[in-house]
């Protein structure tokens, strides 16, 4: 009886949760690129197969190449529930067995994602099984026994925002069915590295790292840090101390495959006492001495700290940091590796040929066969991580955004002269990686963009030269936040006024305004943050200072001007305040929702339909709380209502946007994908469609398109939003939806024609929008014997074309040189789509020899 009641209660909810995503199955997001790789912190080759490699990306899932990096393919879509990979390991004895640990281990505060444990494949990555350990959140390394792939160890770094038990070294002897935690120090001590003696797999070395990231500080070092050794296959561990510093931060450790007695350890210690550096033991960990104190090895330790020994030569050792460094004399002197992207996080060296390696860096993975002299390209991976987007009003319109550890990008939403969106359709733009980009949307010749620590420039997009326009050109690197005159967010908002010509705003802890493109600046507001002095010290400690601005706290994180009224602005701060001015900056009112607490106000959306309606997307993920937290106000922020029903815990909310045509049709971008609400936020459902599982950093609704910035899969666009605005879940009758207006043109696209089996990504270039009238129709029911017919007539009533669902049995396929088959109408219950194939796609208009 009780069960029945439950079923009745649950069923409608489940039905709703599936409805729109299924109903709109003929709508697909398209990946527009750019193809410029994003961050990877884990990569592996395969022993005995020098053509095959795996790349774990941060946000973009797991990728595989079988031609030594000429092509990479995602192999985790549809299997993994989170997008960010911390570790990948391939069994040396059975290369079909691959273990993946989720959650990146180089933990950036601004865009690091949590993982959901361990996945395993027994067929070389074709299919995957989840093996638990969800509580670990970030995994730094997986090590597999050289001859028994059922014995596997996981170095769990643990949740980075808060102390937890889910960290340390885990061991499984049954291929990951069950796990046992065998090494643990304290709730801050995550395992940052694990190294196995491949000559004696009972011997393991582990590094535990005492760490936490608060929104204002990276804590790296403390009681939980330590180096450990096990000689009984990871069952018990002994701390290694002789010759090592007392103050320990982040560490890495690597035992030499060519000499089991030689072990390298890279150690973050107190930067001020020169104890940080590379240590070596020549007696299998019994005693240690510092072999190099070169600060290049240990700079910005929390982000790097990686050491790897050449498997065939114990004198050759690699340390990865902002540069990749190599020593051929056991660590005494160092050379730099060049030829691939910077900011390195992982290295796999072929144990049979140490000239062959794969390296992971902020541009992806890269393969070398010549000892690192040259590397495979990263310009073929659509795995960029983007922060914020803006769009212009050009034809086609362009999308602007900053790519993590790269330039900002201006990319066309379509290539109206060709088949796909390639590098000839995108270019770099103003500012740097963390840029907000601002411009006159109707004439975007000058683009204003910034980067971290408040740098800002006005770039002429034609000549590609810029003027630096900081309101106060002060060097902030290394300073405590409280000592910065202007305290900027990592992504400091920059906006271009829609109402006042040539007027720009730059958000610090207060809003700066310039009416002459940065020649002069004035204060447009007082401090609009909580200004908590105790949270405005140096951004890192206790041993290494972190001060590139990601830990600046008490900054404006979002700024928006009302499109309806001149002089109305909203601001949001990273410590949880929302303000409004209705008198062009003369006075600002605190309109923060009650009891919001310290929260990142990540995005503010003024309704395009009602000047008094405003939405905010907030998140406490930096405090380790993954609760979705969207709010709506009908009265300029006087009162707020939480609108999160249907978005699960874990899908923390970064952005909310309203449809431009349909009031109350909302789109939310979350850590776990896109959600849609047809009732102004009362209920949400997933609207992921073919979009891979990847964090959504920003969304924009523009010209009936939904533009998506992802953290790991570049940009995507969902066309034809007008279809969503006409959605009626109760529809019972036959219906043709009014197609969106089409401009006469001749671009080609994979989206023209049948896209049932298309995942939205193609080759090395972005996907164009369909060319042709994209016609959707609803069939209330389907009868196999009845035919669907469509007649197209022009304004004079003349028939232009007719289409049918009936198969054309008389059509004879031919090896070119004949007529193509006519498009058929699909006949599915519910929504159908007629896409037109592109004319002339199979025929060249002149001969090529």
């Amino acid at each position: 009886m009780r069960k029945t009641t439950l079923l009745i209660l649950l069923f409608p909810v489940l039905l709703l949760a599936q409805e729109a995503n299924d109903y709109f199955s003929s709508m697909k997001y398209r990946n527009i690129g750019p193809y410029r790789g994003g961050r990877s912190v884990s990569a592996s080759g395969v022993v005995g197969d020098p053509l095959t490699y795996f790349m774990g990306t941060t946000g973009g899932g797991l990728w595989k190449t079988q031609d030594a990096g000429q092509h990479w393919e995602n192999i985790s879509d549809g299997f993994f529930k989170t997008g960010t990979v911390g570790a990948v390991a391939v069994s040396e004895s059975n290369p079909n067995i691959v273990y993946v640990g989720m959650g990146e281990h180089a933990i950036r505060g601004v865009m690091s994602s949590y993982g959901d444990g361990v996945y395993k494949s027994t067929d070389g990555g074709e299919t995957w099984e989840h093996l638990g350990l969800k509580e670990t959140e970030q995994i730094s390394r997986i090590v597999i026994h050289p001859t028994n792939p059922d014995i596997v160890y996981v170095a769990a770094q643990g949740k980075y925002t808060a102390p937890t038990e889910g960290r340390g070294v885990y061991k499984s002897v049954d291929g990951g069915k069950t796990w046992k935690k065998t090494l643990y120090s304290n709730p801050y001590g995550g395992a940052s590295e694990l190294s196995m003696d491949m000559n004696n797999p009972d011997v393991l070395y582990a590094a535990l790292w005492h760490h936490q990231r608060t929104p204002w500080k990276v804590i790296s070092g403390g009681d939980g840090s330590g180096l450990y050794k096990s000689t009984d296959a990871g069952e018990t561990w002994n701390k290694l101390e002789t010759g090592l510093p007392k103050e320990l931060g982040k560490m890495a450790i690597a035992v030499c495959r060519s000499n089991s007695d030689k072990v390298y350890a890279l150690i973050e210690s107190d930067s001020q006492t020169e104890q940080s550096g590379l240590y070596v033991s020549n007696n299998a960990g019994k005693s240690w001495y510092q072999v190099s104190g070169d600060n290049r090895l240990t700079q910005r330790a929390w982000y790097y700290t990686e050491v790897f020994a050449d498997p065939l030569n114990d004198q050759t050792v690699y340390v990865l940091s902002a540069p990749a460094l190599r020593s051929k004399d056991g660590g005494k002197s160092w050379e730099r590796l060049y030829g691939t992207h910077g900011d390195y996080h992982d290295l796999w060296i072929n144990p049979n040929n140490s000239k062959n390696m794969v390296i992971a860096n902020d541009g992806g993975a890269a393969i070398s066969f010549n000892f690192g002299q040259s590397w495979s390209t990263q310009s073929i991976m659509p795995t960029a991580q983007f922060y914020r987007i803006n769009v212009d009003n050009m034809e086609p319109y362009n999308i602007y955004g900053g790519q993590q550890d790269n330039t900002s990008v201006r990319i066309a939403s379509a290539n109206l002269q060709g088949w796909s969106i390639s590098e000839s359709d995108w270019t770099w733009s103003a500012g740097g990686e963390s840029a907000f980009l601002a411009f006159d949307k109707d004439n975007p010749k000058v683009v204003v963009g910034g980067s971290y620590l408040g740098t800002i420039e006005a770039l002429d997009m034609e000549t590609k030269v810029s003027t630096k326009i900081m309101a106060a050109p002060l060097q902030y690197l290394g300073k405590a936040a409280r000592d910065m005159k202007y305290l900027y967010n990592w992504n400091a908002p920059i906006i271009w006024s829609q109402h006042e010509p040539n007027t720009i705003y730059h958000g610090a802890q207060l809003v700066l305004k310039s009416t002459d493109l940065g020649k002069t600046w004035t204060h447009f507001s007082p401090d609009l943050t909580r200004d908590l002095d105790e949270k405005q010290g140096k951004g890192g400690g206790p041993y290494t200072v972190e001060a590139v601005g990601a830990e600046n706290y008490g900054t404006i994180s979002y700024l928006v001007e009302s499109p309806h009224q001149q002089g109305v602005f909203y601001s949001g701060s990273d410590d949880g305040l929302v303000h409004i001015t209705k008198d062009n900056g003369k006075s600002w009112q605190n309109i923060t929702p009650k009891n919001l607490g310290e929260t990142l106000i990540n995005a503010i959306e003024v309704s395009p339909h009602d000047p008094a309606v405003v939405y905010i997307a907030t998140t406490k993920y930096k405090f380790g709380d993954y609760t979705p937290a969207l709010f709506k106000s009908n009265n300029y922020g006087k009162t707020w209502k939480a609108i999160n029903n249907g978005i699960p815990y874990g899908a923390y909310t970064r952005v909310v946007r309203e449809d431009q045509t349909k009031k109350g049709l909302l789109y939310a971008g979350t850590e776990l994908g896109i959600y849609i609400s047809f009732d102004d936020g009362a209920n949400w459902e997933s609207f992921q469609r073919n979009l891979p599982v990847t964090p959504i950093l920003d969304l924009k609704v523009h010209r009936n398109d939904l533009v998506v910035a992802t953290s790991g899969r570049s940009f995507w666009i969902l066309d034809n939003l007008s279809l969503l605005s006409a959605y009626d879940p109760e529809i019972k009758e036959l219906k043709v939806f009014k197609p969106e207006a089409l401009t006469y043109g001749f671009w080609g696209s994979r989206m023209s024609g049948n896209i049932d089996g298309f995942d939205g990504t193609q080759g090395f270039e972005g996907v164009n929008p369909a060319n042709g009238v994209v016609l959707y129709y609803h069939l209330p029911e389907v009868d196999a014997d009845k035919v669907v017919e469509l007649v197209v007539t022009n304004s004079e009533g003349k028939v232009i074309n007719t289409y049918t669902s009936e198969a054309d049995d008389s059509y004879v396929p031919h090896n070119g040189g004949g007529a193509p088959p006519a498009p058929r109408l699909s006949k599915r219950k519910g929504l159908n789509c007629l896409e037109y194939a592109t004319p002339n796609s199979s025929w060249r208009s002149w001969r090529l020899y």
Binding site: L734, P739, V773, E789, L790, N801, V812, G818
Partner: protein, 207 residues
Amino acid sequence: MQHPIVPGVPGVYIEASFNGHRAVPGDYTFTLKYNGQTTSAEGNISPNTNFNISAQEYQQYDAIMSDMEAKATEMHTRVNMLTKASKDIQAAVSQLKKEGNNASLVADGEALLSAIKAWDEQMIQRRSQAYDDVENFENKFTAEYLFLMNQTNSRLPKVTQASVDLKAEMDQRWIGLKKTADDLINNQVPAYNKKLWDAGIGAINMD
């Protein structure tokens, strides 16, 4: 959105596009019929402001393309009908030959087959099999007509005088060829068919 595809000739390689031309800017009505119900929606294709093509130019383009596509469709429809008929006639003639009587029916059949073949050889080059193979075998009438149709089908649709003039010339040739085809289809094949029926032999199919 395109106009209907011109039918091809099964098994024949013609280096051309068979696609109908793209619908020109304007308002369109989409009428869907299913299970006795009818519903419709309005749509629009707007002119591309960068193209500098007048409404009149679009109209001229639409008119000439529609006419050529209709004529090319007429051509290939007749080619395919007569090909089908030939197969039946050939089968009948073979049967008659095997039986060894009806010499006049055999002779009539063979004469009709030669007449159809003579016409077909003016219309279609059946020997080329592939892209570069078309260089080995000279193109015939419909291949040339399709070439003209494709050359008139510019993305920036301005119809040239050369297209207009050549179309007039080829349409004139088509009048003659069409007359021959229609005579075969409407008179000669049915007459022979009647003779076959009269002799108690099966029918020729041209559907």
